[in-house]
């Protein structure tokens, strides 16, 4: 596989997973930007474990997931049922706090960053194979879990909270518990992504985890469609890939093209390219096709 394709595929997978990490709590109207801080915390922790303490990558990755989950759980105890705005503020605050803490920690490179993370498996080709395998394994696993979530009572409960909290409470939904569950899931996922993100580049720098990442994931969700997980699957490779195909002459217009695209989508299709209705249509079509096949 070409090197450029490897980077394209691996970063696309991270963008899909991180957009899902934002999508899941957004199902109940929580814009949970703490995920970016989770990426940094788990990433740097795993980097330190591997570099300084010679912990194997697999264990460091597991610790990264776990750390993300623990932080997500603890924070969600306070904001599990908070209004959207409060969740956004907590997320931004966490990003700032995390940056400041890391900046002042020479053991993880401080403002300079962390260099020279080792190749997993000892060689660059094995490293790439393992990273891609883990990332796309995660895409399949997390995609399956979210798909199941969207189609079960929990997903319907989240939809009810999204539309009207009072209505959801009257239906007997425990908003706080649901919030804790979704936020913890989201942070766990982000923690693991942080570790993998750093191991793609084999380095960590604080500027890998900035509001830029919030911008990317938000654009992916809102252009692709925020009411279904499939919007992310469509938008992540396209939004990341299209600018790479621009000839140099128009590359500097990338931001304008992005902006125009976003405005067009918001005006013409406010729910994004892929809506829940379009997913139901496809699902209906597939199920009819399946029935026909079975009958014949």
């Amino acid at each position: 596989m070409s090197l450029a394709l490897y980077y394209y595929l691996s970063i696309t997978a991270v963008n899909i997973l991180m957009s899902w990490a934002l999508y899941v709590p957004y199902r109940m109207a929580h814009l949970h930007f703490i995920t970016v801080a989770n990426m940094a915390i788990s990433g740097y922790t795993a980097g330190y474990l591997v570099m300084a303490l010679n912990v194997p990558f697999s264990l460091a990755l597991a610790i990264g997931f776990l750390l993300g989950g623990v932080i997500g759980y603890l924070v969600s105890l306070f904001i599990g049922d908070a209004p959207t705005f409060a969740v956004v503020i907590v997320g931004f605050t966490f990003i700032y706090i995390t940056r400041t803490v890391i900046e002042n920690m020479p053991s993880v490179g401080g403002t300079m960053g962390m260099f020279g993370l080792p190749n997993i498996g000892g060689s660059p080709s094995v490293h790439r194979f393992v990273i891609l395998g883990i990332l796309y394994g995660l895409v399949v696993l997390v995609g399956f879990l979210i798909h199941r979530f969207d189609h079960c009572s929990l997903g319907r409960a989240a939809s009810a909270v999204f539309v009207d909290k009072d209505l959801a409470v009257s239906l007997g939904i425990d908003i706080r518990k649901l919030g804790i569950l979704l936020q913890t899931f989201s942070c766990t996922l982000a923690g693991g992504c942080g570790v993998l993100y750093g191991f793609i580049y084999r380095s960590f720098h604080l500027d890998f985890f900035t509001f830029h990442l919030v911008g990317i994931t938000m654009t992916i969700i809102f252009v692709g469609g925020y009411s279904t997980m499939w919007g992310t699957v469509l938008a992540a490779p396209l939004l990341y890939g299209i600018p790479l195909l621009f000839p140099p002459e128009i590359a500097s217009w990338r931001i304008v093209i992005y902006g125009a695209l976003l405005i067009l989508v918001l005006v013409l299709k406010p729910e994004g390219f892929i809506t829940r209705r379009s997913v139901y249509c496809v699902e209906g079509f597939l199920s009819r096709a399946q029935k026909k096949l079975n009958n014949s």
Binding site: L3, T111, I200, F208, H212, P248
Partner: protein, 391 residues
């Protein structure tokens, strides 16, 4: 006698044949030398990317007018990384796979950290001419450092500055936590303490700070005799204005670090920064035909603005690449990419007597050994040389 003549003629023919043959081996096998430059052409620091690119293209223009590299023209290809590590890594991967011999950039540090490991893994040199030694050294031998190790060089420099003001007994620093800047501040501390100047606890300048009154009050409370600025250029100008509004008059006891020498300092500071001292690696007051031509062309292309301090870095970097290709057996032949990439990297790392636009310098194991530094006084937006500090 005849036999002796025959031997001499045969030996000469042999010499001609072998040197001729050798020469043919080093002939360029390319139509043009393409040098990709991973630069930030869009995004928050696009203005810096623009003049870095301008410098590189100016060098390409001059080189081509003088006959190119080994007789073939050179083309600098601007590759926009948009300050984005994601984009930078894919672009670097594409560059190494396209069979590029040597590249320039990336700019700035986050993209360097994401993209340089790809160049290293594939054995391709990429000249990172705007970052500090501490970043570049991690990617040796596949890049060279444009600056000597920070601690050593800046220590000497601020000690020399302190020597200009013998009555200055205590100094405080404003430090912004970005990339190598805290390390530069540490180097200042070591240099100042080595000459007996007391360095007070630093004042942290948050990256998102917009008002500076409280920071200035915090610094003035410690009653320093001098102040060193290690933060963003615009912030430095605003802090100096705050200092003046709170009664600071000894302008020459204010020292701005090299990264603060950017157009924003002069645009925001205006007359308020008159008398402030600043250090840097280049001397814009130099009077040589080459520098004057560069300056004139830059000003013509930039509405009369003076060339900023980093504008020459990639100009020199391209000349360094030119000399590396011309001084080795590099041909650009795709079949020999691996060894030719290595030849370029090895030659650059130990290049002697390189003729930069400002001065000549030597490289040893990827590090410049004898680049001078300069301390200036700012007067009406211009820098007046106060002292040249040689290593």
């Amino acid at each position: 006698m005849k036999k002796a003549k025959f031997v001499v003629v045969a030996a000469m023919a042999l010499v001609f044949l072998t040197t001729g043959f050798g020469f043919a081996q080093t002939q360029a096998q390319v139509k043009e030398w393409r040098v990709p430059f991973l630069n930030c052409l869009t995004g928050a620091i696009a203005s810096i990317g623009e003049y870095l690119q301008w410098g590189a293209e100016r060098a390409a223009l001059e080189i081509n007018q003088a006959g190119g590299i080994k007789g073939k023209p050179v083309k600098v290809i601007g590759v926009d990384t948009a300050l984005d590590p994601q984009k930078g890594s894919v672009e670097m991967a594409r560059i190494v796979e396209e069979g590029t011999l040597v590249a320039m950039g990336p700019v700035p540090e986050p993209v360097i950290m994401a993209a340089m490991p790809i160049a290293v893994e594939n054995g391709m040199a990429s000249v990172t001419a705007t970052t500090s030694y501490e970043y570049a050294v991690k990617f040796f031998p596949w890049t060279v450092s444009w600056f000597p190790p920070t601690e050593q060089r800046l220590g000497e420099l601020v000690a020399a500055w302190a020597g200009l003001h013998p009555d200055m007994k205590s100094v405080i620093q404003f430090v912004e936590p970005y990339g190598p800047w805290p390390g530069m501040a540490e180097a200042h501390v070591k240099g100042l303490t080595s000459v007996g100047v007391k360095v007070m606890p630093k004042v942290d300048v948050p990256s998102d700070a917009v008002t500076f009154g409280p920071l200035v009050v915090k610094a003035l409370e410690q009653k320093p005799d001098g102040i060193v600025f290690v933060c963003n250029a615009e912030k430095i100008a605003k802090i100096i204005r705050e200092l003046k509004s709170r009664g600071w008059t000894k302008m020459d006891r204010l020292l701005v670090f090299s990264s603060g020498d950017a157009p924003e300092l002069y645009a925001t500071g205006g007359a308020d920064i008159n008398g402030v001292e600043i250090y840097n690696y280049i001397n814009p007051n130099l009077d040589t035909p080459r520098w004057n031509a560069f300056k004139e062309a830059y000003m013509k292309a930039h509405n009369g603005n003076q060339p900023p301090s980093l504008s020459t870095n990639y100009y020199d970097a391209l000349y360094m690449i030119k000399r590396s290709i011309e001084s080795t057996a590099v041909t650009g032949d795709p079949k020999k990419f691996k060894e030719e990439r290595k030849m370029i990297a090895e030659y650059m790392a130990n290049m002697k007597d390189f003729h930069g636009i400002m001065f000549n310098w030597d490289m040893k194991n990827g590090v410049p050994t004898n680049k001078p530094t300069f301390i200036f006084s700012i007067q009406e937006g211009k820098k007046k040389l106060v002292k040249e500090v040689k290593p």
